[in-house]
């Protein structure tokens, strides 16, 4: 297969485990992901489902006691799990970048914006300070920051939350990466800003041909943004497929539960549909479907690990799926 025909990102059988004193935490367990160039992929799951650890695994930033136990992460044909640190440095921040959840925290409070942007450029390109500054100015302009010349000389605390997230996005995009991973970047923002950032992010990625992985617990964000959605539960992908398919006709009971618990889908005056129970401890998962304790459709067969089954563009890990 030629390099061009290959998908941008291929993850096969990825397992990232944490070896803690209390036992092994399988934060990411047998995850497969395929992402084509320029596409937007949404990863949905509740807190602790392993979606952030999946992102850190892709970036090679899993800190001890965690490590990638097995599996392959191929970005542009290069297996990231086998890279040494110097090679990583060429890829991280240049080919793959990340945007974090809290824009109040991702910018260094004691450094001016220009310093932070220039060092981001110069960490990967041997250019002069002036040239790097020019790039920074363009990048700020692209994300819709007015008078970038003045703003470059500001400190992070002089920006509002939404503006800071724009700066963070500008920094992530400044080296024209092939892939950007966004870890709940709009959760800390209010809804109007959230909508703006979402549509801008979508447009920026489409224009530059950048692929985007958007991690969130909010299905309504994914609905308008992503091409494809992966639903994650307790470290495993339970359902994946084209976003309209999955949201219109969820087949995994967990996906169904997530969709039903979106407030706008509930009738006024009726109690909100909830998924009963809480996610089990990742330490005590054992074999079998991790969702079976909360699932209304659980069968005896759920005690055995459900295999991943592919059906018409959809992949599903359930022995008793919804019709």
């Amino acid at each position: 297969m030629s390099a061009a025909a290959r998908p941008l990102l291929e993850i096969e059988g990825l397992r990232t485990h944490f070896f803690t004193g209390a036992g092994i935490v399988k934060a990411v367990d047998d995850v497969d992901v395929v992402l084509e160039r320029g596409r937007i992929l949404g990863i949905v799951g509740e807190s602790g489902s392993g979606k952030s650890m999946l992102a850190y695994s892709i970036l090679g930033l899993v800190d001890p006691p965690g490590r990638i136990v097995s599996g392959r992460i191929a970005l542009e044909g290069v297996d990231l799990t086998r890279l040494d640190e110097p090679r990583w440095r060429e890829i991280r921040g240049a080919r793959v970048a990340m945007i974090f959840q809290d824009p109040m925290m991702t910018l260094n409070p004691v450094l001016r914006i220009d310093t932070q942007m220039v060092e981001a450029v110069r960490a990967h390109h041997a250019v002069s300070r002036g040239a790097a500054l020019e790039r920074a100015r363009e990048a700020l302009g692209r994300v819709g920051i007015a008078s970038p010349d003045e703003r470059l000389r500001n400190y992070p605390h002089q920006f509002s939350g939404g503006m800071r997230q724009r700066v963070a996005i500008a920094i992530a995009l400044i080296n024209q990466p092939a892939l950007v991973i966004a870890d709940e970047p709009t959760t800390a923002l209010d809804v109007t800003i959230q909508a703006q950032i979402l549509s801008e992010m979508q447009a920026l990625c489409r224009d530059a041909g950048t692929a985007l992985i958007w991690i969130t617990h909010d299905l309504s964000v994914i609905a308008g943004l992503a091409d494809e959605v992966y639903v994650m539960y307790a470290g495993r992908i339970v359902e994946s497929g084209p976003v309209d398919d999955v949201l219109d006709n969820p087949r995994h009971p967990y996906t169904r539960g997530l969709i039903d618990s979106v407030p706008s889908r509930n009738a006024p005056g009726r109690p909100l549909a909830q998924i009963r129970g809480v996610m089990p401890s990742l330490l005590a998962l054992g074999e079998g479907c991790a969702f079976r304790g909360r699932c209304a459709r659980a069968l005896d067969a759920c005690r055995a690990a459900p295999p991943m089954a592919a059906a018409g563009g959809r992949r599903l890990r359930c022995v008793n799926p919804l019709p």
Binding site: L61, R92, A97, Q101, D102, L107, N108, A123, N154, Y155
Partner: protein
Amino acid sequence: MRIVTGEPIPVRVRDAAAQAPWRRFAEEFAESRIALFGLALLVFLAVVAIAAPWISPQNPYDLAQLDVLDSKLAPGTPAAAGGLYWLGTDDQGRDMLSGIFYGLRISLTVGITSTVIALAIGLALGMLGAYVGGWLDALIMRVADIQLSFPAILIALILLAVLGQGTGKIIAALVTVQWAYYARTVRSAALVEREKEYIEAARVLALPKWRILVKHLLPNCLPPLIVVATVQVAHAIALEATLSFLGLGLPITEPSLGLLIANGFQYLMSGKYWISFYPGVALLVTIMAINLVADQLRDVMNPRLKR
């Protein structure tokens, strides 16, 4: 309802320089008058200490200028060589005012030098421990713990008993006593800052490790350190005075404030109070000025005390 559109609300735009961290910091610091007073006092004392050779009526180190016949004179007595002993003389005929000026110079030098060296050592070890972790971190911190479990004065006494007297030696003793405070403070600050997202963001950008350490981590660990350092200068000065008072600090030919106090101690009961009293006042005022500044620094730099 009608929406009234009128003049746009004028937004006060402050220029970038006015918002720079140090500028904001200076404004907040100036909010307390007592701290400003402390700072002014400290600057005054520093100027006196630096200018001591030029403003002192007498060079107290030059034995040729001392007249034993002028010993133990009360404040305000005219000197045989002309002029006035404003604060009296000690048992060797040394002008107390000159002695205090020179003593202040030595006390401040010893206090500040030892603090700066201890700060540098503590900072390096603390950052190293926090960044590397593991057995090295454990080793550094256990040594610091052991060190801090002994009273500072005891360690300094033992060291000086072994090393002998001298300015360099007392600085070495003070550094040994102090570094652990900084190592601990910077380590705890670095451990907190290290987990913040901007460090993670810097790692995602694949910035060089040393750059993350020096340009991103270090400046964010400084605020608590500056506060500790200011308080520690006062501690170092007091500790040096104590050691000198006990006769283990500086040689009698180069008296610091503590040594001047010790010098007059034996005459305190015989009514010749000024030999100990005025150096004592000078020491008190110096330490108070530093503490006033330190208190305000702590208030300004501690986000938890922000109004």
